[in-house]
Symmetry: C2
Subunit: 308 residues, 2 copies
């Protein structure tokens, strides 16, 4: 019998709204998180790349996580990003997440120093695991070489899985390279592997994948969930084609500002569009174009009528 | 009359020693900092790249800085690294340094998200300056594209200098590209510009540079200082050739582990060699080779006999 998965399905790296003062807006954040779960997300990954997670301070990340746990979101459905270049900060964030009962954490490798050797990366994770010192800790490795530059080789993944089989339980592959995802799925069937885009959802599921963790799940959770639920049905390929086309249309724009612009528009809440430096908001004309293009070509709209 | 410089000369990005428990070793750290000032450093830049600064947690950085200020080192001679991907953390670290009376701070751009646009980077620094809200703040921009990937274009530097002439006062150029350093010196003569290697010290000084901030100043401060002091003398070229050759011999090894191995050897203190992941220590055979090669070819040795 296959091992019961801890996480599976459609996971959104929750966007982080900011208030007038530039600080995270906890109220809009919780509201968005709850709406995502209503829309079909099976779990949430706050403080990912799409969340501007690495633009948030330590205290900001911990406070926002507490807000989610205090709201109607089960902590076992939370997989917060707790990576940091700094070992000490990664331990602080990870321990905090474990203490709150989070089902897992999504961990970047230390990404400041480039081309670190495998032994050094292995030691980083070994030190985090020892530093947190809690059997409840479940780590999902976050492989995103286009942004972090530092990533996880197949052999490093293998070493971590072998040494910490009860802790290193999954991986998000945002390489954008299906052959890499396929190689990981084939080499480590015990891992819960999530492609970083719904474009690879169906291919991933057919090969033993666990679902996807995707930026665009912030605005397309429903249709993505449908593919997850019906992946063995005759309609699966056609449903997949629909979410692939929509994803490609959205990613023609700068992802984070575009997602926030879409939500701002359909929530009729201009403040939602705010991003934190080094990002800048989508110019108004580009936002209008995105809204119109997506609506015309894909029937895209967001409905917040029933939202809390 | 030329404006009085705030910083000039030879500045070492102070190595960070670690104790048995993996935490920073404040005692060894302060001892090393004081030795560096005795050796000829004009100022210190703790928490730089060579300091493994981005592997240190927020609290670790602040505690170590307080240790330096509590020791015999004048805060006006300190230019700590206070950059962070996270705006909130950059503000916390920078305000802390200003409150301690540090003469300046060396700030990386936010380096997680790649290829940010100029406006976003400008806003980051504007927000830090506004967030700290203290006229004593003096920022030295830290341009190190080989590691941070994100850097400062000439036009971004110009915009920051124009908007914040009393705050953005200098730059460290670790691009390794002399033509870039020369272009910055020519375009912004009011900036205190420090090449990131003593290889460019004399060329920099001839063009209006302020000195250098260099990893190898951790072990070669004396001879580098000699070039700075005698740059207009007939011996300058020959002295420069000596420090250039030594720098090139040292950088044939992985820089941070090699510097720590050299200090561990000459201090007869094996614990000094410890690095934090993602780095690993220099293997013993390679350390021995480095020590012997540098001694044979360059007469390199470190003398701690008179050290406190």
């Amino acid at each position: 019998m296959a091992k019961q998965k801890i996480f599976s399905g459609v996971i959104a790296p929750v966007l982080t709204p900011f208030g007038e003062d530039g600080g995270p807006d906890a109220e809009r954040f919780v509201e968005h998180a709850e709406w995502l779960m209503d829309e079909g997300c099976t779990a949430l990954a706050p403080f990912g790349t799409t969340s501007e997670g690495n633009s948030l301070g330590l205290d900001e990340r911990m406070e926002l996580l507490e807000e989610l746990v205090d709201a109607d979101i089960e902590p076992e459905n939370l997989m917060p990003g707790t990576g940091s270049c700094a070992l000490a900060d990664a331990i602080v964030l990870t321990r905090h997440a474990v203490d709150l009962g989070c089902g897992g954490v999504l961990m970047l490798p230390p990404f400041y120093y480039k081309a670190p050797n495998e032994e050094g990366l292995f030691r980083f994770f070994a030190d985090v695991i020892e530093g947190v010192g809690d059997d409840r800790l479940k780590i999902y490795l976050y492989h995103i070489p286009p942004v972090a530059q530092v990533g996880f080789s197949l052999s490093l993944i293998g070493r971590l899985v072998k040494e910490f089989p009860d802790t290193v339980v999954g991986l998000k592959d945002s390489s954008g390279d299906w052959s890499n995802t396929a190689a990981i799925l084939d080499a480590y069937p015990q891992l819960e592997v999530f492609p970083g885009s719904e474009v690879f959802l169906l291919d991933g599921l057919k090969r033993g994948g666990a679902g996807c963790i995707s930026a665009t799940a912030n605005v397309c959770a429903g249709p993505i969930r449908k593919v997850f639920d019906q992946w063995q049905s005759p309609e699966a390929e056609q449903l997949q084609a629909g979410i692939t086309a929509l994803r490609k249309a959205i990613q023609a724009y700068p992802m984070i500002p575009a997602l926030k612009a879409l939500i701002a528009h359909y929530r009729e809440d201009a403040g939602w569009a705010k991003v934190r430096p080094p990002f800048v908001e989508l110019p108004a004309a580009e936002a209008e174009k995105a809204i119109k293009t997506l609506a015309d070509a894909h029937g895209f709209k967001l409905d917040f009528a029933d939202a809390a």
